[in-house]
């Protein structure tokens, strides 16, 4: 019963939050001083041309009226038409979403691997210079945001030792046989590993830039939990039974220490997705974030709305999922 109640309450607050986002985005954008219609027409356009085009995009109606027309469309999956690209916003946004998702998930995987390895190594070699070194590295990684790590990576692995690509998603001259926009996934499924490698060499640096701060957070928290677990009686028992230290950490301490980290990863993943906006720009990676910045610069109102709403849906969706997973895993809530 308690679980059902929590669930319902969370779904409702999520809906309210999304409605709030939609209202704020819509009204904030309507205060734009520049006139997007004037920017679309050639210099010699008459007042009549302007009025016609304004009516076609519904910009002549009152702001609340525009909101209800737009909101009704959104509920039917119609986000309007991009002013600069002249295509349906939903199709444009969905076309770019896979690129951003692939980048985010790759970055998340790298963060978990690096952070996990750092925590395990730090625990195995605790109270040595290695642990001190890892601590300092993590402190640095946390202090500096992904944008700056991206620039550092560009300098080191793009220019100084040019081993990875620093712009784009895939080498433009390559023929792509893909039918979906999930290039990386599809290249693996089609066993076109040459394309997989090319994609990865483009994605590695932006993904690493996104992963570095998150890896540090994961590393710190996991090591903290491991440290606490290592003092528990059952771990000492395993040690007296002759398990090696590495095995004690891996098979005894880790399963119990990992839960707080998992919850944290969920929440932090939303921050990572938010970071893709500027990282994609930095690496000219053709994802949602890059499209968002172009849309803002071109004042493409329908497109901006669509992208921001989609980001908000992803953010709140991930948060909701984390909360529900936590509720399902937490026995106190499950049986409450």
């Amino acid at each position: 019963m308690a679980l059902l109640q929590t669930l319902l309450l969370r779904v409702i607050t999520t809906a309210v939050t999304l409605l709030g986002v939609a209202v704020i985005v819509f009204f904030v954008i309507r205060v734009v001083p520049g006139n997007p219609i004037a920017m679309m027409l050639p210099p010699g356009a008459t007042a009549e041309d302007i009025a016609n085009l304004t009516a076609r995009y519904g910009l002549d109606k009152s702001i609340p009226e525009q909101f209800f027309i737009w909101g009704g469309g959104v509920l039917r999956g119609d986000f309007g038409t991009s002013i600069t690209l002249k295509q349906p916003v939903l199709a444009l946004v969905l076309g770019r979403l896979p690129a951003t998702l692939e980048l985010s998930v790759l970055a998340l995987g790298m963060a978990i691997l690096i952070g996990g390895a750092a925590a395990l190594t730090g625990t195995r070699l605790r109270e040595t210079r290695v642990e001190g070194g890892i601590d300092i590295a993590q402190g640095m990684a946390l202090s500096v945001p992904d944008f700056l790590w991206g620039l550092v990576l560009i300098l080191v692995f793009g220019v100084l030792v040019p081993v990875f690509q620093i712009s784009g998603r895939v080498t433009p001259s390559l023929e792509l046989p893909f039918v979906t926009d999930f290039y990386l996934v599809e290249s693996v499924l089609r066993l076109r590993f040459d394309l997989t490698l090319d994609l990865l060499s483009h994605m590695l640096l932006p993904a690493l830039a996104l992963a570095i701060p998150l890896a540090a957070i994961i590393g710190q928290l996991l090591k903290q939990s491991l440290k606490e677990t290592m003092h528990l009686d059952y771990v000492t028992l395993a040690r007296t039974q002759g398990y090696s230290e590495a095995k004690v950490i891996w098979s005894q301490a880790l399963p119990n220490a990992i839960l707080p980290t998992l919850t944290l990863v969920g929440v932090q993943f939303t921050f990572l997705i938010g970071g893709t906006v500027i990282i994609e720009r930095l690496f000219s990676y053709e994802g949602l974030g890059n499209m968002a910045i172009d849309a803002v610069i071109n004042r493409d109102l329908p497109l901006i709305q669509g992208i921001v709403i989609l980001f908000a849906v992803i953010f709140t969706g991930v948060n909701l999922l984390v909360d529900l997973t936590y509720a399902a895993l937490n026995p106190r809530l499950r049986h409450g």
């Binding site: 939050t17 999304l18 402190g139 906006v277 500027i278 910045i293 803002v296 610069i297 921001v308 953010f315």
Partner: protein
Amino acid sequence: MAEGRFQVRRRAGLRLWLSAAWLILLVMVALFAPYIASKDPLEQDLFAGRLPPFWVHGADASFLLGTDSLGRDVLSRIIFGTRIALGVAVVSASFTCVIGAALGLLAGFYRGWVDVLVSRFIDIWMAFPPVLFSILLIAVIGPGLFSIILAIVVIDWTRFARVIRAEAMAQGAMDYVASARVAGRGRLGILLREILPNVLPIIVVLLTLEMGIAVIVEAILSFVNLSISTDDPTWGGMISEGRTSIHQAWWVLVFPLITLFLTVLSFSQLGEGLKDRFDPVLR
């Protein structure tokens, strides 16, 4: 164990002083920029475009760190960029702090509908990717320093409100607040005289961290060309130009990047160092 703790303290002290030293240096540079810079940061010299820094062959020694594609002196632009970076950091972080802390205190101490309202807004704010949110706001209000400051305040007040609200709630439940109430102090009096001094250390830590965030936000917005005009010397603008000419003139990217990196690192380390210092458990 005791020795280990001592080492941790000493290392923490060192990073605190190093960060403080770098930031004090920056303040000095910002204040005395016209006396330190050897060139006018806006002056173009098309015959001196993309000169390398002084130790590289082909350099002109009067441009210590080289020039950009328009022949503007990189070092002088970094020096004048310090004014913009620190100005934005101090002003925007202060406003963010005052508004966020005030809302957090009110929500955490008075609870009731104020708390419901503030918490709901925090939830909605958390659903926006901050970078996208700031770019959106700048697009709406138009580029410029004032817009950047406004965007930082509008977006980041939740950082203060979230933490201070929780802290005010925890403090409000403590005995000293109850006894102040018994002693007949008014609610506002308790909030300002009892709770505020107790959350002040956290506010100082958050303020320091926020300045670092403000520096990076300004750099990002200059990078995507939504800050002030590209003529004006901003670190982010220089980095943006450096990114495009990275294979022809690495120095246009590297020197502003190092400056920005050290500055962000210093604010963050200073904030973390202060947090450790204020933390009674470590003390």
